[in-house]
Symmetry: none
DNA sequence: GTAGCTATACTTAGCGA
DNA sequence: ATCGCTAAGTATAGCTA
């Protein structure tokens, strides 16, 4: 930038808000990219004490791609592992749908739902045994590798 | 970079992990900077459904500055702040206590505890005003970080 | 597997319309 | 205030050890 960033609170309100909006957007993008690149579900929560706003970013786009990839690969195969992951993904999708419907409601309710969604997804995973999770992980890994190889073969 | 990033799941496990760690660090920094520059409390939560890991990055340093600034600017209105702080401290103490009791149990149980604390936070949210949510956010961050630190310490 | 490096892609502060 | 621009900082992919 024209000037090296001084890492301190920006006292000017307008400048602070401008920076806030720009960086907020950047963080959302980064979190979304992490989800897509590494196949994890992630979210960011920012609470602004000056205007009592709470903003929550479930990582929709990144997670969506993971879900889609899973559904595509599971269409051809019906193993136990796939059923398990399918169940998890279905519930994630359902939770995400509910969140979408609350978009216009009170910020407090968004936090509520976020927590609920976290619980749902976590409980599903927790219901699996350690061995099942390991198998599931390996299976998913293998499937994703196969797909990637296919894509690479086509592109080359 | 040497090559333009293709925004897709990284099939190679080692490369994915390396990218994950690098970007995770970058996101923490960004969130921390946003907190400092704009005076907001923020956190990032990344959940990997395939290995039951939940990683939480409370923006410790940034949030700390926010708390200090908040307390300084509202020194005239200390009654309410002190009450809020008391509630937060009580809950941190409770969380530590429960965590201590799980010291010798299985790692899976610690995940259960994490989610239990999430639910607790949710219930607490329901009883708070929008103004109070800022402190709650910080509370959640601290509590989850404590648990994360404890788990890491045990696993190392 | 992870720690440091560097070239390059990406982000963003300050402006101007 | 919001947008687009672009210079100037940052983050990080691919490497090396």
């Amino acid at each position: 930038m024209r000037q090296k960033v001084k890492l301190a609170f920006i006292s000017n309100g307008a400048a602070r808000k401008a920076t806030y909006n720009k960086r907020k957007k950047g963080i959302i993008k980064k979190v979304s990219e992490l989800s897509t690149l590494c196949g994890v579900s992630a979210c960011a929560i920012i609470s602004n004490p000056f205007n009592s706003q709470i903003e929550v970013w479930p990582d929709r786009e990144g997670a969506k791609k993971v879900i889609e990839r899973y559904h595509n690969s599971s269409a051809k195969d019906e193993t136990k592992n796939l059923n398990q992951e399918g169940l998890i993904m279905q519930n994630i999708a359902k939770a995400r749908d509910r969140l979408r419907k609350l978009e216009n409601k009170k910020p407090e309710k968004k936090i509520d739902l976020l927590m609920h969604e976290c619980m749902q997804n976590k409980n599903l995973v927790d219901n699996l045994t350690a061995e099942e999770l390991k198998d599931l992980d390996e299976f998913i890994e293998k499937k994703l590798k196969e797909e990637d190889d296919k894509i690479n073969a086509i592109e080359t």
